[in-house]
C-alpha cells in the first residue's frame, strides 16, 4: 500500500494528497449504463434546446408576418392619402377654391418684376 512504515500521526500532507488523487477517478468512472443514461440525458437536453429555438423562431416568424401585413396595409393607406392629395391639388380644383375665396388672376399690367443682380461665381444661400 501507499502507506509506508511511517507512523499515522506523522503522515506527510503531500502523501495524503497523492493518495486522494489516485482514488479520484472512481468518482468519474462510468460504466455502460451510466454512458447510456448520460447520452440519453444529453440528447434530451439538446432536443429541448432545439425545440425551444425552433418554437421561438416560428413564433417570431408569425409576428414578422403580421408586421409585414401591417406594413402592406399602411402602405396602401398611404397611397390612398397620396391619391387624395394629388386629386385635391388638381389645378382646376385649386383655382375653384381660390375663386371661392375671392381671389382672381392678376392682369399682366398688375405684375411688378424685380430684377436681382447676382454676383459672378457660385451663389450660396445665406441666412
Amino acid at each position: 500500500m501507499a502507506m509506508t512504515g511511517c507512523p499515522m500521526g506523522e503522515a506527510l500532507p503531500l502523501q495524503h494528497a497523492r493518495e486522494r488523487r489516485v482514488q479520484h477517478p472512481k468518482y468519474f468512472r462510468l460504466g455502460a449504463p451510466g454512458l447510456i443514461a448520460g447520452s440519453v440525458i444529453t440528447v434530451c437536453l439538446l432536443s429541448l434546446l432545439y425545440l425551444a429555438q425552433t418554437g421561438r423562431v416560428a413564433t417570431r416568424g408569425y409576428v414578422l408576418q403580421e408586421l409585414q401585413a401591417d406594413r402592406v396595409g399602411l402602405l396602401r393607406e398611404a397611397e390612398q392619402f397620396e391619391y387624395r392629395i394629388a386629386a385635391a391639388n388638381r389645378l382646376d380644383s385649386v383655382e375653384a377654391r381660390a375663386t371661392a375665396l375671392g381671389l382672381r388672376r392678376a392682369a399682366p399690367a398688375q405684375l411688378r418684376y424685380a430684377t436681382i443682380e447676382l454676383p459672378p461665381g457660385p451663389v450660396v444661400a445665406q441666412r
Binding site: T54, E79, E82, A86, A109
Partner: protein, 599 residues
C-alpha cells in the same frame, strides 16, 4: 362429469390451426405490402401521396411588383396605384342568399337577380361579385352580417388599380394602363416595361391557416417594383394650353385641335394637349380610338404656309438666296399645266423671303423652292426630320408623309406644292421639332416627355439629345427677324377689337415673339376637302433666347377657315400667360400705348 368435460382444453385440429396461420400470414403479407406501398412507393390507389402532401404543404405565391408612379415635372402625381376592396363570394358558405342579394344590390350597383345567381352557384368555389369598391361601401359590407361582421361566404380582398388623380388632364400624354396593369397608350404604353416592374415568387411551406412556416426552407425571389417617372410636362403649362384649346374649339365649333409647347433648347415637351380629351379612370367607357392615340404624335396634316419658314431657312442655308433676294408675285402662275395661286389670287409684286412669309405668298414660295432646287430642298427636308419619326418617347408616333423625288408618287409639281406646305404631311410634334431647330440656332433636338427615371433609389436624368446641326446661327438670326415682323402684323387679330387700332403692334405686349400662320386644305379621295381646313400657327417666345416653341392647330373650324383668325388668338393667349408664368419681365418699350390700358 359435465364440469370435468367443460374444463378440458378445446381441441383444435392441426389442419384448422394451419388454415388460421395461413390466413394470418396472408393478412400480414397484405399489411406489409400496403405498408411498403405507402411508406416506400408513397402511393394509394394510384394516387401519389407524396405529391398530395407536398401540394398541401407547399405554398407558391407570385409576388406582384408595384407599378411605378408618374409625376409631372413639379412632382404632381399623374398616374399611381390605389388599393380598393373587391367583393368575392364563396357560394357553398352563403346563408340566406336571397336576403343577402337584396341588401347587396344597391351597395355594389348590380341587380338582385345577377347577385343571386352568383351567390347560389354552389358548383363554383369562388367568384367575384364586384371590383374596386369605394371605401364607404366596403366599410358597410364589413358590418352587414347578423353579428355586425361580414356575412358568411363573402370576402373583401384588397386589389390594386391604376388611378389617375388628375382625371382628363394631360390624359393623351400619360395614356392608360388596362385592368391587368399593362400600359396600352401614351407614357404608360411606351414605358410599360420600366413602369410595370418584375414579378417575384415565394416558395415555402405553409401551415393549416395557409401561413408561411418560417423555420422551413424557402425560396424567395423578390419582386422588383416598377420605375417612377418624372415627366417634362409642366402642369401649369398643360392647364394653360388645354384651357385655351378647349375655348377655341368650342368658339369656332371645330372638330378638334392640338397645342404643343416645347423647350426648343432641350427638346423637352412642356405641354401637349389634344381636344377632345378623356378620363383614363373610365377608359373602358369610351371608344378605343380616343384613348389609343395621341393626335400630337400620331395624326398627320399638311402644314400649309407654316412650312414656308422651313423653305426660307433651307434657301438661306444653302445660299440659294438671301434676305434681299426678290421674286415676282403676279398672284397666279402656271406650272406643268396647273395654275398655282395665292390664297386670294392677288399679286404682290417683287417679294423678299421676309415679305413672302409676311404675305404668305404661295407664288413667291414656289419660285424660291425652284431657286433652291429639288436636290437641296429634299436633302434639308430630310435633315429637318420630316418623313421619319422624331424618336419621341411616346407610343404610336407616325413618320409623316414626304413624297421624295425618287418615289412613285413624285411629280415635278410636287416641289412647287411642297414649298407652301401642300402634298407633304407632318405630325405636330415633327413640325414643332423642326421649328424649334430654327428657334434654337440650328440644332435639331430629339423631343422627349420623360425627364427622370427612378428605379428604387437610383435616379437617372434624361439628358437633351441633339440629333444634328441643320442650320447656321446666322441663318436662324435672319429668319427670327422675319418672323418677329410677322407677329406684329398678326397682332390686330387680337388687339384690333380691343384697341380699335388695326395697325402693327406687339402680339404679346412687352415681348418680341415670332409667329407664322397656316391654313391647310385637308386631303380627301385624291383631292382636297372643300368643306374644311386646318388653321395653325407656329412660333417661339421670346424671339431671342427662346423659352418656349409653340404649335397651335385647330381642326375644321366652322365659323372661320383661316388659321390667322382661329389659331393666332390661342397662340397669343398661351404665349402671354406662359411668359408671365416663367417670370419673364416684359420690356415696357415693347408695349404699344394702346395696349397699355387694355391688359
Amino acid at each position: 362429469m359435465a364440469q370435468i368435460a367443460s374444463s378440458r382444453p378445446v381441441g383444435i385440429s392441426r389442419g384448422r390451426i394451419n388454415v388460421i396461420l395461413l390466413i394470418s400470414l396472408l393478412l400480414s403479407a397484405l399489411t406489409v405490402r400496403q405498408l411498403v406501398t405507402i411508406q416506400v412507393y408513397k402511393q394509394v390507389g394510384g394516387r401519389d401521396l407524396d405529391a398530395r402532401a407536398q401540394a398541401e404543404l407547399q405554398m407558391h405565391v407570385v409576388l406582384q411588383p408595384r407599378r411605378g408612379t408618374i409625376y409631372d415635372r413639379n412632382g404632381a402625381a399623374m398616374a399611381m396605384n390605389v388599393y380598393n376592396d373587391s367583393l368575392y363570394v364563396e357560394p357553398p358558405r352563403v346563408e340566406d342568399a336571397a336576403k343577402l342579394a337584396i341588401v347587396l344590390a344597391p351597395l355594389i350597383g348590380k341587380d338582385v337577380e345577377t347577385i343571386l345567381t352568383k351567390l347560389t352557384e354552389t358548383e363554383l368555389e369562388w367568384d367575384r361579385l364586384a371590383r374596386w369598391l369605394p371605401d364607404e361601401v366596403s366599410a358597410k359590407i364589413k358590418t352587414l352580417g347578423p353579428d355586425g361582421k361580414i356575412p358568411a361566404g363573402l370576402h373583401l380582398v384588397p386589389e390594386a388599380r391604376r388611378a389617375y388623380p388628375q382625371g382628363d388632364f394631360a390624359a393623351r400624354v400619360v395614356g392608360v394602363a388596362n385592368y391587368e396593369g399593362d400600359g396600352i397608350s401614351g407614357i404608360e404604353g411606351f414605358y410599360n416595361s420600366e413602369v410595370k416592374g418584375i414579378t417575384g415568387t415565394l416558395q415555402a411551406e405553409q401551415d393549416a391557416a395557409q401561413r408561411q412556416i418560417w423555420i422551413a426552407p424557402q425560396r424567395l425571389v423578390e419582386p422588383q417594383d416598377g420605375a417612377n417617372l418624372t415627366l417634362t410636362i409642366d402642369s401649369t403649362v398643360q392647364r394653360v394650353i388645354e384651357s385655351a384649346l378647349a375655348d377655341a374649339v368650342i368658339k369656332h365649333n371645330a372638330e378638334g385641335g392640338t397645342v404643343l409647347v416645347m423647350d426648343p433648347n432641350s427638346g423637352e415637351v412642356l405641354g401637349m394637349a389634344s381636344y377632345p380629351s378623356f378620363d383614363p379612370n373610365h377608359y373602358t367607357e369610351i371608344e378605343p380610338d380616343l384613348y389609343n392615340h395621341n393626335a400630337a404624335v400620331t395624326d398627320v396634316y399638311e402644314p400649309g404656309s407654316t412650312f414656308k419658314v422651313i423653305l426660307a431657312a433651307i434657301g438661306m442655308q444653302v445660299g440659294a438666296f438671301n434676305a434681299n433676294t426678290t421674286v415676282d408675285d403676279p398672284g397666279c402662275v402656271q406650272r406643268y399645266g396647273w395654275p398655282i395661286c395665292n390664297w386670294n389670287s392677288a399679286g404682290n409684286g417683287p417679294l423678299t423671303p421676309g415679305k413672302m412669309l409676311q404675305l404668305s405668298s404661295n407664288v413667291a414660295a414656289l419660285q424660291f423652292a425652284e431657286i433652291i432646287g429639288r436636290e437641296n430642298f429634299y436633302k434639308y427636308v430630310r435633315l429637318f426630320g420630316y418623313g421619319q419619326p422624331t424618336g419621341i418617347d411616346l407610343a404610336g408616333e407616325g413618320p409623316g408623309i414626304v413624297n421624295w423625288p425618287i418615289g412613285d408618287d413624285w411629280s415635278d409639281i410636287t416641289l412647287n406644292t411642297n414649298s407652301y406646305g401642300q402634298s407633304i404631311s407632318v405630325t405636330p410634334i415633327q413640325h414643332l421639332t423642326a421649328i424649334s431647330t430654327v428657334a434654337n440656332g440650328g440644332m435639331l433636338m430629339t423631343p422627349h416627355v420623360v425627364k427622370r427615371i427612378c428605379k428604387a433609389t437610383q435616379c437617372e436624368d434624361v439628358a437633351p439629345r441633339p440629333v444634328r446641326r441643320v442650320l447656321d446661327q446666322a441663318v436662324t438670326d435672319e429668319i427670327r427677324g422675319m418672323l418677329v415682323e410677322n407677329s406684329l402684323s398678326y397682332a390686330p387679330v387680337v388687339w384690333g377689337p380691343v384697341t380699335g387700332s388695326y395697325a402693327k403692334m406687339p402680339l404679346v405686349p412687352g415681348f418680341r415673339v415670332t409667329a407664322k400662320t397656316g391654313t391647310s386644305s385637308i386631303p380627301l379621295n385624291g383631292g382636297y376637302d372643300a368643306n374644311g381646313t386646318i388653321g395653325s400657327v407656329v412660333g417661339w417666345a421670346p424671339a431671342e433666347n427662346p423659352r418656349i416653341a409653340v404649335l397651335v392647330k385647330i381642326d375644321r373650324p366652322k365659323d372661320d377657315p383661316w388659321g390667322l383668325n382661329t389659331a393666332i388668338p390661342v397662340y397669343q393667349k398661351v404665349t402671354s400667360e406662359l411668359m408671365t408664368y416663367f417670370r419673364m419681365p416684359p420690356d415696357p418699350a415693347l408695349i404699344d400705348p394702346l395696349q397699355a390700358g387694355q391688359q
